[in-house]
C-alpha cells in the first residue's frame, strides 16, 4: 500500500517537475565607466530594470575610466570573455565599429529581437554620431554632453561687458576688457583643446573636418581642417595668447577649475561641468552657446556631442541579445529619459523626453541645462555637423593638440601647424583604413 502511495507521489512530483520549466534568469553583463553620483544612477537603472521583469538580470560593473573600460573590453573580447554591453566614449566609435563581428549594431539587435524601435524618435544630432550615414544606429547613446561657453556674470559686469558675447569678435573684445579689469592671466580659455578648436568649431561653422562627412561615410576619409577659416581662428588664438587675452589650459579638462576659481570669466568646456560649477563657483554664472564668426556662411550650424554610448559586443546568444534589446527599450522610455536628464544632466536622447522636460517647465527654473540642447537642435544637421568618425581618435586628438601647442608656443605658424596636423592625421587614417575591413 505505502509503496503504491509512494509511487504515485513520486510520479506526480516528476510530472510537475517536467511540466514547470526551470526558470533561469539570463544574466547580462554591463561594463561602464561611471563614478560618483553617476555610478548610483547606473546601479539604480539596472535595479529598476531587473525588478520590472523576471527573465533578465542586468549586472553593471565599474571598469575604470573611459579608456580603462574600453581597454578591458578589447582585452576581454580577445580572450573570449567580453561583456554584453560596454560603455565606450565617443572617441572610440571608429575602433568599435570598424571590425565586423566585434560588435552587434543596435539597429540589427532591435530588429532581430523584434523590439519596437523607431530611429526617428531620437534626437538626430545625438544618434547621428553613432549611426551609419543611412541612419542605422550602431550604438545606443547613453550620457551625452556638448560644449558650451561658461560665463561668469559677476566678472563680466565688473569689467563693463554689457552683454553675453555671441560671436568670436565679441569674445575677444570682452576678454580684453576683462584683462584690463584685472584678469591678468586669463581673458578667456577653454578645456579639451582639439574638441573646442577643431571638432566643435568646424561643426558649429558648417565646415568639414574631413571628407566623407567627417568619416561617417567611409574609412577613406581625408582630413581637411587646414582651411582658411581654421587658420584664421588659430592665428587669432596665437595672437591673443601673447598677452594672455587667450590663455591655453591644456589638452583635457585638468584646468577646468580656472572658471570656478574666478580666474577665467569666459571658459568653454563640456555642458557636463554644470554639477561641479554649481557646487564650487561662488558667483553668478550661466552658460551660453559657443561663439562663432559672423562672416562664416551658415554659422552657427549645430554642435556635436561628446560623452559615451552603449555598444553591444558580438558573439553572444540570441536570448541574451533579446534581454539587451529589452533593456534599451526600457532606457528609451520617455518618462525615464526625462527624469534621467533632469537628475543627472545627461542629455535626453529622445525628442519626446526633451519635449516633456520643456512641458514640465524644467528649463524655466533651470535654464543652464538647456543650452547644449539648444546648440544641438539649432539647425538640421548637415554632412559637416552630424559628428565625426576617425580611426585611432585618442592618438589623433593628441596629435592635433600637439600642433596647437606648438603654434601657441610660437614654434610654428597657424598654417604650418594645421598643415602638419592634417598630414600626420592622414597618415594615421591610412594605416587605420588598412586594418578596417
Amino acid at each position: 500500500m505505502a509503496l503504491r502511495q509512494f509511487g504515485a507521489a513520486a510520479a506526480v512530483t516528476v510530472a510537475l517537475a517536467l511540466a514547470t520549466p526551470a526558470h533561469a534568469v539570463t544574466e547580462i553583463q554591463w561594463w561602464h565607466a561611471m563614478t560618483g553620483g553617476n555610478n548610483d544612477i547606473v546601479n539604480k537603472l539596472a535595479e529598476e530594470f531587473n525588478a520590472s521583469q523576471s527573465d533578465y538580470k542586468v549586472i553593471p560593473t565599474f571598469k575604470g575610466s573611459y579608456p580603462d573600460t574600453m581597454n578591458a573590453g578589447i582585452a576581454a573580447f580577445r580572450a573570449g570573455t567580453a561583456p554584453h554591453i560596454i560603455q565606450v566614449f565617443e572617441v572610440g566609435t571608429a575602433t568599435m565599429m570598424s571590425a565586423t563581428g566585434a560588435i552587434k549594431p543596435v539597429y540589427q539587435l532591435m530588429k532581430d529581437a523584434n523590439e519596437p524601435f523607431d530611429p526617428k524618435a531620437y534626437l538626430p544630432t545625438i544618434t547621428g554620431y553613432y549611426s551609419t550615414s543611412k541612419g542605422d544606429m550602431l550604438s545606443f547613446p547613453f550620457n551625452s554632453s556638448s560644449m558650451v561657453m561658461w560665463i561668469n556674470k559677476d566678472e563680466l559686469k565688473k569689467a563693463g561687458v554689457a552683454e553675453i558675447p555671441k560671436t568670436w569678435p565679441d569674445v575677444f573684445a570682452a576678454a580684453k576688457k576683462l584683462k584690463a579689469a584685472g584678469h591678468e592671466t586669463c581673458g578667456f580659455s577653454n578645456a579639451w583643446a582639439s574638441w573646442a578648436h577643431i571638432e566643435q568649431f568646424s561643426a558649429w561653422h558648417n565646415v568639414p573636418i574631413g571628407t566623407k562627412a567627417n568619416g561617417l561615410d567611409g574609412f577613406d576619409t581625408v582630413l581637411t581642417f587646414n582651411s582658411p577659416l581654421h587658420v584664421k581662428h588659430l592665428q587669432n588664438l596665437i595672437d591673443l595668447q601673447k598677452d594672455k587675452t587667450y590663455d591655453y589650459s591644456g589638452r583635457e579638462n585638468k584646468s577646468e577649475a580656472r572658471f570656478a576659481s574666478g580666474e577665467c570669466a569666459i571658459f568653454l568646456t563640456s555642458s557636463g561641468y554644470y554639477a561641479t560649477a554649481k557646487s564650487t563657483a561662488k558667483f553668478d554664472f550661466t552658460s551660453a552657446p559657443m561663439p562663432y564668426y559672423p562672416d562664416a556662411a551658415g554659422a552657427p550650424q549645430n554642435s556635436i556631442i561628446g560623452g559615451a554610448s552603449l555598444w553591444v559586443m558580438g558573439g553572444k546568444k540570441p536570448d541574451e541579445y533579446k534581454g539587451v534589446a529589452k533593456f534599451f527599450t526600457f532606457l528609451s522610455d520617455t518618462n525615464r529619459q526625462a527624469k534621467l536628464h533632469q537628475e543627472s544632466g545627461y542629455l535626453p536622447i529622445t525628442k519626446a523626453a526633451y519635449e516633456k522636460t520643456k512641458a514640465d517647465g524644467f528649463y524655466e527654473k533651470n535654464p543652464v541645462p538647456e543650452t547644449p540642447l539648444k546648440e544641438l537642435t539649432n539647425k538640421e544637421p548637415t554632412a559637416n555637423s552630424r559628428g565625426l568618425r576617425f580611426g585611432n581618435m585618442v592618438q589623433m586628438r593628441d596629435v592635433w593638440a600637439e600642433q596647437i601647442e606648438a603654434a601657441l608656443a610660437g614654434q610654428k605658424t597657424a598654417q604650418q601647424a594645421l598643415d602638419d596636423a592634417v598630414a600626420k592625421g592622414n597618415a594615421m587614417l591610412r594605416t587605420f583604413e588598412k586594418t578596417a575591413k
Binding site: G36, N43, G64, Y66, A75, E263
Partner: protein, 282 residues
C-alpha cells in the same frame, strides 16, 4: 658616527629635515587642501594651515554617491587588497631568494643564461603585453581569483638581483665554516644565509607590499565581481570622474585616502623590523 661631532649631527638633522620637507610637502599640501572648500583651494591663495571643511570633504568623498555605489563593504575590499599585496610580496621574496641562491652558490650549465632569462622580464612592462597576459589568465580560468591577481605580478627580477648582490657580499669564510661543520646547502641556507638576509628581506617586503597594494590597472582588468575588488579601485570608483580635477579639494581627499592604507601597513611593519634590525646589528 664613531666619534661624537656635534656639528656633523646638526648638519645631519638639517639635511634630513630638508629631506622630509621635500618629500612630505606635497603630501602635506594635499592634506591641507582636503580640509578647505573648493573656492579656497582653487583660488590660488590657499593658506598653509588646515581649514574647517575636513569633515565635509571626507564625508562627501566616502559617502556621497560613494557607499551606495560601492555595493561591497569596505572591509571586503581591504581584505582583497591585503591578501593580494601580502601574496605578491611573499611570493616575490620566496621565489627570488631561491633563484638568487641558486645563481650565486652553485655551478651549473646555463647558470648565467638563467639569470638573464629572469632579468629580461624587467625590460617589457606589463602594459605592453596586457592583452596576451589577460588571455593567459582567462585561459587558465584565473579571472576573478586571488591567483590571477597575484601570480602574474610575482616574477621579480629586482628581487633576484637584490638577493644576488647581497649574497655576493657574504664572506666566503662563512660558507667554509659551515661546510666544515658538515652543513649541506639547506642547512647553510636556513641557519646562516637567511638570518643574515633579514634586513634586505624587510626592505624588499616593504617595497613589494606597497607595489602590490597600489596595483590598479591589473586588478581592474581581471576582476568583474564586486567581491574581488581592491580598495584602490573602490576609492577611484567613488570619486574619479572626468571632473575630478575640477573639484580639487575632493581630489585631494581621495588622494589622501588612497595613501593611508599602504603607509599604515608600512609603519606597522617598521615596528616589526626595527626590532630585527637592532638584533642583527653587528
Amino acid at each position: 658616527m664613531v666619534e661624537h661631532r656635534p656639528l656633523s649631527d646638526i648638519i645631519a638633522y638639517a639635511i634630513l629635515t630638508f629631506g622630509i620637507f621635500i618629500v612630505a610637502f606635497p603630501v602635506y599640501l594635499a592634506l591641507i587642501a582636503s580640509t578647505h572648500d573648493a573656492a579656497t583651494v582653487v583660488g590660488g591663495h590657499m593658506p598653509l594651515a588646515p581649514g574647517g571643511h575636513m569633515l565635509d570633504n571626507y564625508y562627501r568623498a566616502i559617502f556621497v554617491g560613494g557607499s551606495r555605489a560601492i555595493r561591497e563593504p569596505v572591509g571586503q575590499m581591504l581584505l582583497n587588497s591585503f591578501i593580494s599585496a601580502i601574496g605578491i610580496a611573499i611570493g616575490k621574496i620566496f621565489i627570488s631568494v631561491l633563484s638568487a641562491y641558486a645563481v650565486v652558490y652553485f655551478r651549473f650549465p646555463f647558470r648565467k643564461t638563467a639569470f638573464w632569462i629572469i632579468f629580461v622580464t624587467l625590460m617589457l612592462p606589463v602594459e605592453v603585453r596586457i592583452y596576451p597576459t589577460y588571455k593567459v589568465i582567462a585561459d587558465l580560468k584565473m579571472l576573478d581569483t586571488y591567483a590571477g591577481l597575484i601570480l602574474p605580478l610575482i616574477a621579480s627580477a629586482t628581487g633576484t638581483l637584490l638577493f644576488r648582490q647581497f649574497f655576493m657580499t657574504i664572506p666566503e669564510e662563512l660558507l667554509e665554516a659551515s661546510r666544515i661543520d658538515g652543513a649541506g646547502p639547506f642547512r647553510f641556507f636556513w641557519d646562516t644565509l637567511l638570518p643574515l638576509s633579514v634586513t634586505t628581506i624587510a626592505a624588499l617586503f616593504v617595497i613589494q607590499f606597497i607595489y602590490g597594494w597600489n596595483q590598479y590597472l591589473w586588478p581592474l582588468l581581471i576582476t568583474t565581481q564586486d567581491s574581488m575588488q581592491t580598495i584602490v579601485t573602490g576609492i577611484k570608483k567613488m570619486l574619479y570622474t572626468t571632473d575630478e580635477l575640477a573639484e580639487w579639494q575632493l581630489a585631494m581627499a581621495t588622494a589622501i585616502l588612497a595613501m593611508l592604507p599602504p603607509v599604515a601597513v608600512v609603519v606597522f611593519m617598521q615596528r616589526l623590523f626595527v626590532r630585527g634590525l637592532v638584533e642583527t646589528e653587528k
